[in-house]
């Protein structure tokens, strides 16, 4: 199949280092991978093309790159899935980390966040004489997160990391969940308190990019949501994030639908004068544009609210 790989190149040792695109025309089988194509280029056309790979089987996690705008493993991405009829395929280094050369990125920011969540087991007391005994289901539940191969693909496409590199990020937060949910670990509360800080579990915007791109189905965002739920039930100090979830749920219980001004005020907190005042111009702006929604007693519950409240009671009793 006639394929054009348009590769983003960068050579820090060139006289004027700046990224540029270079196109390579190749004949590839639909079942070949993007990595096959890049290696073909390196072996037969241009041996200066720099990339990282090892296992060629989606295990080592070293070939993460952006293909047609989304991060993925080049060795797991077949030509037919990104260019079903051949033609142009764009290949760029991963985002959100510095580029060392061509398609090779510096993973240090990634590893730094992983280290930050203390990714090792911290049990309490003397170790048992034989092995730790844990319920099978508890460990089975964790196999999904343990499948992470540390490829950095989720971090590349994370929308929060893009604007704020202090964010812990999807991979580290998923790793944190792996230990928070491990029945053998005794540092749960300390971990949750650390994750409750700014740049931690509440800073994720739930964009689902990491869920979509992760080649190992780790679903980092789902783990972040699970961390939040664990944090709330462990009663870590409330944040705007946790109050938002608690107040939102309460409003739906009371009214069946959202009372937006009430949600904003209660989330920020009645004593949070600075933030509340900063919201005032927005309320005035909405009022002038005739779009300030009714709130409090002026905002009525949906017809059928009794049914909603009964459902709440029943589900909450079960869990």
């Amino acid at each position: 199949m006639h394929t054009i790989l348009r590769v983003r190149r960068f050579n820090p040792e060139s006289p004027n280092p700046a990224p540029y695109d270079q196109e390579y025309v190749l004949d590839l089988e639909p079942s070949e991978t993007v990595l096959d194509g890049l290696l073909k280029i390196r072996e037969t056309v241009d041996d200066s093309l720099t990339l990282r790979c090892s296992c060629r089987g989606a295990i080592c996690g070293s070939c993460g790159m952006r293909i047609n705008g989304h991060a993925m493993l080049a060795c797991k991405t077949k030509i037919v899935t990104v260019a079903p009829h051949g033609g142009l395929i764009r290949v760029e280094p991963m985002s959100n980390m510095p580029v060392i050369k061509d398609l090779v990125t510096d993973m240090e920011p990634f590893w730094q966040k992983i280290r930050q969540v203390e990714p090792w087991l911290q049990p309490e007391g003397p170790p048992p004489e034989t092995e730790y005994v844990v319920p099978q289901a508890a460990m089975q539940h964790l196999t999904g997160v343990m499948a992470c191969i540390m490829c950095g693909v989720c971090v590349s496409d994370c929308t929060v990391w893009e604007v704020d590199s202090t964010f812990l990020g999807p991979a580290a937060l998923a790793k944190a969940y792996r230990f928070v949910a491990d029945p053998r670990d005794a540092a749960t509360m300390r971990r949750l308190l650390a994750l409750n800080q700014p740049t931690g579990m509440w800073d994720c915007t739930r964009c689902m990019e990491c869920v979509e791109v992760c080649p190992k189905h780790v679903a980092p965002m789902d783990r972040i949501m699970a961390l939040r739920a664990k944090g709330m039930s462990a009663r870590v100090p409330s944040t705007c994030g946790s109050r938002h979830a608690e107040v939102f749920t309460d409003i739906i219980r009371q009214k069946g639908r959202l009372d937006e001004p009430l949600l904003a005020v209660k989330t920020l907190g009645l004593r949070n004068w600075g933030r509340l005042l900063s919201m005032l111009p927005l309320a005035i702006q909405s009022f002038i544009h005739r779009k300030l929604p009714p709130s409090g007693p002026l905002h009525r519950a949906i017809p059928g609210i009794r049914s909603i409240r009964r459902i709440f009671a029943r589900v909450e009793k079960r869990s």
Binding site: T205, T239, G256, L258, T267, I302
Partner: protein, 294 residues
């Protein structure tokens, strides 16, 4: 074509112009709507942070109500659509889970069989209504206007729950409808990214960075307006745009239109009838390009 209409909280709350424009537009398409007044909020992914099953039961209740009427559901919010699609995927993938949920619903005299189709208005336009009929419903092609699409995360991901494999047109549905409407579609990398609304209270700085980044980028690519099928994106991209511009020490001024507002203009409806005076960033100069005055 008849649908059980699920407007969502925001179209009936902080974005009344979305509801208003939808009400103005749908009769001209010959679509019939029965509004679901007794349906609850979907949970918007927020209630699900506390309790996923609670969200699934509330959505199963809404699906059961639509099933009773024998109608598919129409949404006009990317978030409502995504959350309902995810709930529906979980409920229909696992018969035991569906049984469990139905057990909770039984006392309300409701049961969900798993058959309901939930579709965003955007998808309905292409999948049910069809491009040809849509074209013939438009009387005033919006030529000469450059418009950037902005989807909202929930209408793009996760692709499995949104059934992109079964409906491949969904990935670029917004651009398709915009082309039919006659505008020049301005492509830019941010169109499928996050508007930042979910973290507005927890981290306003990051949220505003996202607003500024996407709106400025669209402008740099030449956009006169931006169009979105998501009222939550609209709240941030339109309502918070000035604050975002202030934070980045720049000027942006990119009008953000709801999808039905754009369609309404192409049907020759007046800006007032479409609630365009309620948009925070004034669309006047963009409309002037079309020879429309407010």
């Amino acid at each position: 074509m008849k649908y059980a209409f699920f407007p969502g909280c925001v179209a009936k709350g902080a974005c009344p112009e979305l509801y208003q424009s939808m009400m103005a537009v749908y009769p001209r398409l010959g679509i019939e709507l029965e509004e679901m007044h007794t349906a609850s909020c979907t949970g918007a992914g927020v209630l699900q942070e506390k309790n996923v099953q609670l969200g699934d039961v509330l959505n199963a209740r809404t699906f059961a109500l639509a099933e009773q009427r024998g109608l598919p559901i129409m949404t006009i919010c990317s978030t409502c659509q995504g959350v309902m699609s995810q709930a529906n995927a979980r409920l229909t993938a696992d018969a035991r889970y569906l049984d469990e949920v139905n057990h909770i619903l039984a006392e309300e005299g409701l049961t969900y069989s798993g058959s309901v189709q939930v579709k965003h208005f955007l998808w309905i336009l292409l999948e049910d209504f069809g491009e040809d009929r849509l074209r013939s419903a438009l009387t005033q092609p919006l030529q000469g206007l450059r418009a950037a699409p902005f989807y909202g995360c929930y209408l793009q991901r996760p692709t499995e729950a949104l059934q992109f494999d079964r409906y491949p047109g969904r990935a670029a549905a917004l651009e398709r409808v915009m082309e039919i409407v006659g505008v020049d579609v301005v492509d830019f990398p941010g169109k499928t990214r996050c508007c930042g609304f979910p973290i507005l209270t927890i981290n306003e700085r990051n949220s505003m960075s996202m607003v500024a980044m996407h709106t400025s980028e669209a402008k740099r690519h030449g956009a006169d307006i931006m169009v979105t099928p998501c009222p939550l994106c609209h709240l941030n991209l339109d309502g918070m745009q000035r604050r975002a511009a202030h934070q980045q020490k720049t000027k942006i001024d990119l009008p953000i239109l709801h999808l039905p507002q754009l369609l309404g203009l192409a049907m020759g409806l007046s800006p007032r009838a479409l609630g365009l005076t309620r948009n925070i960033v004034s669309p006047d100069s963009a409309l002037a390009k079309l020879g429309i005055t407010v």
